[in-house]
Amino acid sequence: MELNSTWKWIVVAILFILALIFPLFADEFMVSILMQAYLWAFLAMSWDVIGGYGGQFSLGHAAFIALGAYTSTILLESYGVSPWIGMWAAGLVAGAAGALVGFASLRLRGPFFALGTIAFAELVKLLLLYFKDITGGPLGILITKSGPEYMLFESQAHYYYLMFALMVAGVLFLKWFEASRFGIGLVAIREDEEAAEGVGINVYRTKVIGAAISAFLTGIGGTIYAQWIHFIRPDIIVKLEYSTQIAAIDVVGGAGTPYGGLIGALILVPLSLYLNAIFGGMIAGLSLILYGVVLLVVVVMVPGGIYGLVRRKWLSRKRGGK
């Protein structure tokens, strides 16, 4: 057991160092791919709070990305507030929105939250288009500032480290979260609502707060995303595909675990980016098929996702070895 955990730490340390020196020897395209994987991993982990740990699927998380991105970008472009500060405001706005949707749709068990979030995402998109004066309407907002104090960097490598830090923070947060009082309460609800009530958990309130935390993190992710693409517009940021991808990445990787989002993103994001790079102009949509097929196959054949599968295999081997 001692040896086992030592080995585990050595492996983690090696991977960590490899990830850190990766931009030194890889080309820009590779760096960009891995960087995007980290970003999606973080978004999937944010989704995981309510989707995986809470067992309530959101299919409108793009709305929280958008709220976060718009909040910090408007603060930046109109008021000169640095995104290093603005991202917290972004999180709060998205979190409040998450609480609102949760409040409306988490009272009953069932698909209501999924329906509520998808409607909310549409609503956000329409509102962003509607309030042109603030949001720039369909033209969106271009980020014009520059400099690290505004979270704007010149090379992809810098963004790589930013996203890497974000991803690591996400994993650490989930590790802490799943052992916290609140995390345990939320999982208890997912496992059995009646029994959760029976130990004194306020089921409705806990789910709503879970949705708010998830949206809060996603909002921060939205800020980072906007800072990377330098440019936000309703039709590229509140895309239904984004909501779908976030959910798919987490479920494929293994929902309700700290590593599921990362595993899912490391598999799906590079695959879809490569497919896009290869077939790009010719066959748009091919990379999306990948998401669909993998999601379908994993849910039907590998409930628990890839992390769950690996873990089961590993556990059974360990047991077999004894």
């Binding site: 009082r181 999982v187 029976g198 130990v199 004194g200 306020n202 089921v203």
Partner: protein
């Protein structure tokens, strides 16, 4: 301590509880028995807030708790187990029990909760399974874990729904002793629904018999087990058609 007054509960055309009244005194172990479908679990669900009765009231320490949501009833100091155990399958046994300490009557911190949970796990002799996922437990262990979980909420009144069903006779007697000790040594008040007569009769201070949603008899185990009405309810009456 607990008073159920003229409670009526209907499901569609069926009357599950028909004007049931029942009182439980502090530090008493009440056995609640009755044939299938007599309304025992329904009564539990009414007391613990899972069902709202159509008529009647539930009073706890003089306070009206009728129709309060279950998690609030836990906070008043009433805990329960379920007829079919409901573990939080993908939490560990320890986390299952800790959740009750953290969310129960007093919101314990993580470290306090761990202590409380380990104490109760030791009490039900499940300590060495603490780090196992709850879904990996067998039926007996699930029942014991659920007992520990209910106890960790810090209740004064504990409702046990068929705790020993499915246990073999020696396990059964051990669990029954544990339950009795909760009353004698820890000062709890307990209502237990049980089918296994031997278990109920051997440890109850008083027995309450439900039949077709209404009270049939009430008294000491000896009185009740000799009551011809009770014997008839269990064995049934002869039919001359």
């Amino acid at each position: 301590m607990l008073e159920v007054r003229d409670v009526v509960k209907r499901f569609g055309g069926l009357v599950a509880l028909n004007r049931v009244s029942l009182t439980v005194k502090q530090n008493e172990l009440l056995g609640l028995i009755g044939p299938n479908g007599s309304g025992k679990t329904t009564l539990f669900n009414v007391i613990t807030g899972y069902y709202r009765p159509e008529e009647g009231r539930v009073l706890y320490r003089g306070e009206d708790i009728t129709g309060l949501r279950p998690h609030l009833i836990v906070k008043k100091g009433i805990a329960r187990t379920f007829q079919i155990p409901k573990p939080f399958g993908r939490l560990t046994v320890l986390e299952n029990v800790m959740s009750a300490a953290m969310y129960g009557r007093k919101a314990a911190s993580r470290s306090e909760a761990k202590e409380i949970a380990m104490d109760w796990l030791e009490y039900v002799r499940l300590k060495d399974k603490a780090d196992v996922e709850a879904k990996a437990l067998n039926i007996v262990e699930r029942k014991l874990m659920e007992l520990a979980r209910a106890l960790s909420t810090g209740p004064d009144l504990l409702l046990l729904d068929e705790l020993v069903a499915g246990l073999n006779p020696s396990e059964m007697m051990e669990v029954v002793k544990l339950v009795r000790k909760l009353v004698d040594e820890r000062g709890l008040t307990i209502i237990m629904v049980e089918h296994v007569m031997k278990a109920v009769m051997s440890i109850s201070d008083r027995v309450f018999v439900l039949h077709r949603g209404a009270k049939l008899a009430e008294g000491s185990p000896q009185e009740v087990s000799r009551d011809p009405k009770v014997i008839e309810a269990y064995l049934g009456e002869p039919i001359q058609v």
